[in-house]
Subunit: 426 residues, 2 copies
């Protein structure tokens, strides 16, 4: 069969016998339910299929894939129907790509523009999830209610306050729509965003894009670029009760958000060169944890509970007052927990010229963390936690927040419907 | 055992029973000989060990790993002994990291600065190769022979000519020393460069760094970001005779380079947004190959030989005069072949402001290809091939060379010796 005539799936073995999209969807649902990290380690990560349709969007409590590409887009259309049409198109294309197919069926003729760039052909579904979020600008932009949605803006979708020390770049900040693609392959993740962005031509334009990765032995807490285990104290995605408590929105004032989540993205640049010159003991004071084991200072094992009251023989706190784990701990934040699902980023190097003596010229790593946090309400989650961290965290000596955005990620879509349908039917 | 007291390997299972570095080296040589792509597909890519020592450096004819980080460094020391000492240190650290260990043994006390950032702990050797190259500036820099090496500069290590259409950025171009780390994990690759760069503090400084990745089903030709199979016509790394003919330097005028290779690196930005708007048939004319199968135009299968004389019924060439495969083919270049071992790159997005009407503001993908080519002599390899391509290749409408560098990669080191020893003993 001529691949150009086909709804070409990315997985070679699917070419035989399975033609209809629906059949593909069923046949490929080898991991139709969210599975735990241990089970994941056994599967070929390129063959993993995460379901696209369901009560929640994927990519939020999904076991974290190894790569991500995030894009934030600005809406430029003024037409409500065009926005709805785009969300429908995106939903269908996302469901196709999640099962390993091209974004749209490939054209029958070479004289057409291909609706899929084909760079992910043959790579497999790779656990792809695509998560959509709506920024404040979808509801009101420069004072204008472009789509008649202003009155449905959830109170929890606040404009983030200015935080101490942040140095936000306009070209890495904000946006009306988030597309987060996560997959076990960088090209599969980027491919997804690239097709979706193209489909929005005329209705949206790219504001910022960001590639990320996560390296970690399966079943263990991954280490960030600072060499510390990151995510030890995350609420467990294996516990639905915790997810209901901290991650999923109740939708009190915005019923269309019931089962969705609020997502904060921060691009945090790390001065790796500086950090690497610090003594290990000091690094451990900064985090409040031991570097190699991940255990809290004074404890043995990574998952030993934090004892913030523990003191040394002189009565000084074992975990310093300004240590990262203390300031971010739920006991310091009225019990608030957020689900961090961050990726490292590595955008190569920047060249830097000092414009005063000694006119130093340096090349610096442009690397750090794409901090991604999901929560039921950022007003009790990220915002108060980061208010405290931004003022007191010792880690701030080595980190700079240069990008920021907030989105309301609606619940998942049922097959036949589309992401965000609840908002437009309100 | 306390990991801080140990020569902590990155692989957990190695912690038991194997302490001495030499024993580790032997025990971990599970893939001591270069193996073919098919064999590789069976192993867990995080557990693969590529030998560091040997007649050739790794990372040249090694089956290509999925990630890379390249760094180009400038020498700032004036002392020959310091340079030699650094190469010794780098060699030892590279051999350690290739077998999955930290760059140096971790410190016994928290009051020391750690010689390893620990972010790759637990990740496994991941097929890590580290390849060193020497740029023109090691031999002569601003007219100065800093290390007494000028007379050993190989003739093949030319300064690259200016090519038509290139738009080179100083901060992505040149450099005295190349460190190329390739691994099946992005953090393992970056980790290696980061430790080595730190060790050179005072003797070298970073000029540019570049992350890359390669997505492809194992055993198949990977597709580039333009959606075409890339590397089909590469000389086979499984054929040592071809490698001897095209890749390994003879060292005629520079015996210390015998068994080494000359490496050209080009950072080629691709206007992905523009390319995606082209009809598939036109894209195929540009490359001279069919997009989905990879077959030459007019043929059935990817590896069918190119027939550059084939014509259509009107007598026009099936493969256009300015198609990429025609212009780069060895029959057009006096039989020259180069071993391409490129990676895609994705440094997220750039924000761009037009300074004239209509004052457009756009965000563009900063993505493309880190073109890496190895050859016995660039004067008969990359240079004439790229001279022709830079003037006539239809692909130039969609690509811009923004970075460039050339290096002499010396042969491999025997255990106990160091990379480049032959040059300094000359």
């Amino acid at each position: 069969m001529n691949p150009k005539d086909q709804d070409l799936p990315r997985r070679r073995f699917l070419r035989s016998g399975l033609a209809a999209g629906a059949a593909l969807g069923a046949a490929q649902a080898v991991r139709a339910a969210p599975s735990d990290v241990a089970a994941m380690s056994k599967a070929d990560p390129m063959h993993v299929v995460e379901p696209f349709y369901g009560p929640h969007q994927g990519g939020i409590v999904t076991p974290q894939q190894s790569h991500a590409y995030l894009a934030s887009l600005d809406l430029v259309t003024e037409k409500r129907d065009e926005l709805i049409g785009l969300l429908r198109t995106w939903t269908e294309a996302s469901a196709r790509m999640a099962r390993g197919a091209t974004a749209k069926p490939l054209p029958r003729s070479d004289t057409d523009i291909a609706p899929d760039s084909a760079d992910a052909l043959g790579l497999g579904p790779a656990g792809l999830t695509i998560t959509f979020g709506f920024g404040p600008g979808m509801f009101i932009s420069n004072g204008k209610d472009r789509y008649g949605l202003a009155r449905y803006r959830p109170e929890a979708l606040v404009d983030l306050p200015r935080f101490n020390g942040e140095q936000l770049l306009a070209q890495k900040t904000g946006g009306d729509i988030l597309i987060q693609a996560c997959a076990n392959d960088p090209q599969v993740a980027f491919h997804a965003v690239r097709q979706l962005a193209r489909m929005g031509d005329g209705a949206v334009q790219m504001r910022w894009g960001q590639a990320g990765f996560l390296s970690g032995p399966r079943g263990q807490t991954p280490r960030n670029l600072m060499g510390f285990k990151d995510g030890t104290n995350n609420p467990s995605i294996a516990k639905p009760a915790l997810m209901n408590q901290f991650v999923w929105a109740k939708g009190a004032d915005a019923p269309w958000m019931h089962g969705g989540t609020y997502t904060v993205v921060r691009r945090i640049r790390i001065t790796i060169e500086h950090w690497d010159q610090m003594k290990v003991g000091f690094q451990e004071q900064v985090f409040g944890r031991q570097k190699y084991s991940g255990a809290p200072i004074g404890k043995k094992n990574e998952f030993d509970p934090l004892d913030l009251d523990a003191t040394d023989k002189d009565g000084n706190p074992l975990i310093p007052e300004n240590a990262h784990v203390r300031l971010s701990n739920d006991s310091m934040n009225n019990g608030a927990q957020i689900l961090r699902r961050s990726y490292a980023y590595n955008d190569s190097t920047d060249f830097y010229i000092e414009r005063w003596p000694p006119w130093r010229q340096e090349t610096e790593y442009d690397a750090g963390l794409i901090f991604i946090a999901h929560q039921g309400d950022p007003r009790t989650g990220f915002i108060p936690i980061n208010e405290r961290l931004s003022r007191f965290d010792m880690l701030n000596q080595f980190t700079t927040h240069v990008g920021s955005a907030i989105f309301a990620c609606p619940p998942g879509a049922a097959e036949g419907s589309f992401i965000g349908a609840g908002l437009f039917r309100t």
